[in-house]
């Protein structure tokens, strides 16, 4: 039972970060109907940014997100303006291939610049943990979870309470109608991609004290982001939040009971089943 609770809890903690990744992808998909295959690579850029801020300028990773968030936002907006914007009307396959290409460029450019060596960002608290009722909690995971909650709340406030946020959600719901309503859809797309990149970058920053940092780390997270968003229903922000936590728990608990080698198989099986039988996501109502 303790093992179960332990894995459950670490699942929830890491699930918070997954939720950020998933929300980023789902906002991009919602607003532009583009599946961003470079999402994990954007996260990887965030990790490297955090790493260098820490090693060169000695800024704590959890503090450095105040720098990472705006920089990653700009990076995302740039990607949208220069690349994605040109294929918005193209075949979905071509959009996917474009983002795959962008991802390859990012990961391999980073590899070229910083080699493919694994980097470790070790802070004083990287491996520290404390016990509550016999369950050990990793401090960096707990801090990152707290930050995740703050960011998620801020994001919800932005999306549901501000005009821009509502315009983004309106665009996500029906791009054509939003345009007719006088919403500047192009601007919303840039903001959406910026937000998506900022969220992925933040997730990267938050996990950098606990993960190896290397150029190819992104692909794992890209795949996870797909699973999370499909599970929650493509384009649904609430869905992605829940999907992230769910996948965090499933991985953590699945890893304990099925062995870590097979847990990915289980995750992808679930993914396929959802795609096939409930493509609108676990929460979604099916519509054509």
């Amino acid at each position: 039972m303790a093992v179960f609770l332990q894995s459950m809890l670490s699942g929830i903690l890491i699930g918070g970060v997954y939720a950020l990744i998933g929300i980023g992808l789902t906002i991009i998909f919602g607003v532009m109907r583009v599946i961003n295959f470079a999402h994990g690579d954007v996260l990887m850029i965030g990790m490297y940014m955090t790493y260098f801020l820490f090693t060169l300028l000695h800024i704590d990773p959890f503090v450095s997100i105040v720098v990472t968030i705006p920089l990653m936002f700009l990076f995302g907006a740039f990607l949208q303006k220069v690349f994605i914007n040109r294929v918005l009307g193209a075949l979905p396959q071509n959009q996917i291939l474009l983002t795959i290409g962008m991802g390859l460029v990012m990961s391999n450019a980073v590899m070229l610049a910083f080699t493919s060596d694994y980097k470790i960002l070790s802070t004083k608290y990287s491996s520290s943990s404390f016990n509550i009722l016999g369950i050990s909690i990793s401090s960096p995971l707990l801090i990152s979870f707290a930050i995740t909650i703050i960011i998620t709340v801020a994001l919800y406030w932005f999306l549901y309470r501000t005009d821009t946020g509502q315009a983004i959600r309106a665009t996500a719901q029906d791009r054509g109608a939003a345009q007719l309503m006088g919403i500047n859809v192009k601007r919303m797309s840039i903001i959406a991609f910026g937000l998506g990149a900022a969220l992925a970058g933040t997730a990267g920053a938050l996990i950098s004290p606990t993960y190896y940092i290397f150029p190819q780390v992104g692909s794992v997270f890209t795949l996870k982001a797909f699973v999370i968003t499909v599970l929650g229903g493509m384009g649904s922000i609430v869905g992605a939040t829940l999907g992230g936590v769910l996948i965090g728990i499933a991985e953590s608990v699945g890893g304990v009971y099925f062995g870590s080698g097979w847990k990915d198989v289980i995750v992808f099986m679930v993914f396929l089943l959802v795609l096939l039988f409930k493509p609108s996501g676990l929460l979604g109502t099916s519509k054509d």
Binding site: V87, L97, L104, V230, G261, D264, V265, L276
Partner: protein, 357 residues
């Protein structure tokens, strides 16, 4: 849409003649080329064309963008090699077993996944390939997990008591690759000029319209997948036998799936010679980078001194950058020539023709 078909149909004998000359030249090539490296590149190009042609049937003609074809490449390769290494079944039987297994698996997956369309199908195809990769990593008894299988030796190929080849040099692989690729191209040409080809393209253009015109989508998409997988699996077996080693991170990786798609996209999808052009452009380029030839050439040309920091950097790092070039090519092609090199050239020539008028 189909200039090659019209040409081949006999309005002009020139292209047929050219093709015959090219094939004859390729058959004679090993007699004149001493360099094993040149043969190596040629064999890699052949394998790339075979797998590209395979994907092209499903992705290019039928419009079902699988980004998980590494699954079938890997299943073909693993089946052949496992049978050879552990069951002592000669590869010229094992290759067929590989095709059978890959097609059988493909039909099960196809029946399930072809209900999905557009981006959802792409995601499902990736998920399937990942399941295969992770499974191969975990089924250590069968696949030797992440360490992969090293082929100790391939039994000599005999007819009766006469040894045809003992697979000691690259030459037998060259000819096997060449013959297979000619079969692949011929099969694509046959398909294009058949009812199947028409149905595949109709599905690509508009699934609902195709459905209403009497085309059973599930059946014909699965037929396209099966045709496609035959060549993908063959390419996988050939690759494994040629390289003498197989492991999940090379033959079942997402990178390979992307590379298969790219070969076609860069050449021009849905055309017979698209994969040929894609492979001829991509393979030598990435091999040249991989083997540091380009870095050396830059230094030799005097642009960058070998002893300078940048020269050192190039020599050290450029060989790792072949995937970076893939990425850049992919971005450029999608943005500036979404119909591939063939489509781009055709657009240029038709523009010139219009200007001439």
């Amino acid at each position: 849409m189909r200039p090659f078909m019209h040409n081949m149909r006999g309005t002009s004998t020139l292209p047929v003649l050219l093709a015959v000359v090219a094939v004859a030249a390729l058959f004679l090539l090993p007699n004149f080329v001493e360099s094993t490296y040149a043969l190596h590149i040629m064999i890699l190009i052949f394998i790339s064309i075979i797998m590209g042609s395979g994907w092209n049937i499903l992705g290019g003609y039928t419009g079902q963008y699988s980004v998980g074809h590494a699954a079938y490449f890997g299943v073909g390769g693993y089946t052949t090699i496992i049978l050879m290494q552990y069951r002592h079944i000669a590869p010229w039987y094992g290759v067929w077993a590989g095709i059978l297994v890959a097609v059988a698996i493909a039909l099960i997956i196809g029946t399930i996944c072809f209900r999905l369309r557009g981006p959802y199908f792409v995601l499902a195809s990736i998920a399937v390939a990942e399941i295969f990769r992770v499974t191969a990593l975990n089924l250590k008894k069968l696949t030797n997990g992440a360490e992969g299988i090293l082929i100790t030796d391939i039994p000599p190929f005999k007819i009766g008591d006469v040894v045809i080849t003992d697979f000691m040099s690259k030459v037998p692989f060259y000819y096997i690759g060449l013959v297979t690729l000619i079969i692949a191209i011929f099969a694509t040409w046959m398909l294009q000029n058949s009812k199947l080809g028409y149905y595949f393209q109709a599905i690509r253009e508009d699934q609902d319209a195709a459905h209403s015109l009497g085309i059973n989508l599930t059946i014909y998409k699965n037929v396209a997948l099966a045709c496609s997988v035959v060549f993908t699996s063959l390419a996988g077996s050939l690759y494994g036998l040629y390289v003498g080693f197989i492991d999940p991170s090379t033959v079942l990786a997402l990178d390979l799936s992307v590379q298969i798609v790219m070969t076609c996209i860069i050449g021009g999808i849905g055309t017979i010679f698209g994969p040929v052009i894609g492979a001829v452009v991509l393979v030598p380029f990435s091999e040249a980078l991989r083997s540091n030839m380009i870095a050396q050439a830059i230094i030799d040309s005097g642009l960058v001194s070998e002893n300078s920091g940048f020269g050192f950097f190039l020599k050290e790092q450029l060989s790792h950058a072949h995937v970076l070039i893939y990425g850049i090519l992919l971005v450029v092609v999608i943005l500036y020539m979404p119909d591939g090199i063939l489509g781009f050239v055709r657009k240029l020539t038709s523009k010139r023709r219009k200007e001439a008028i």
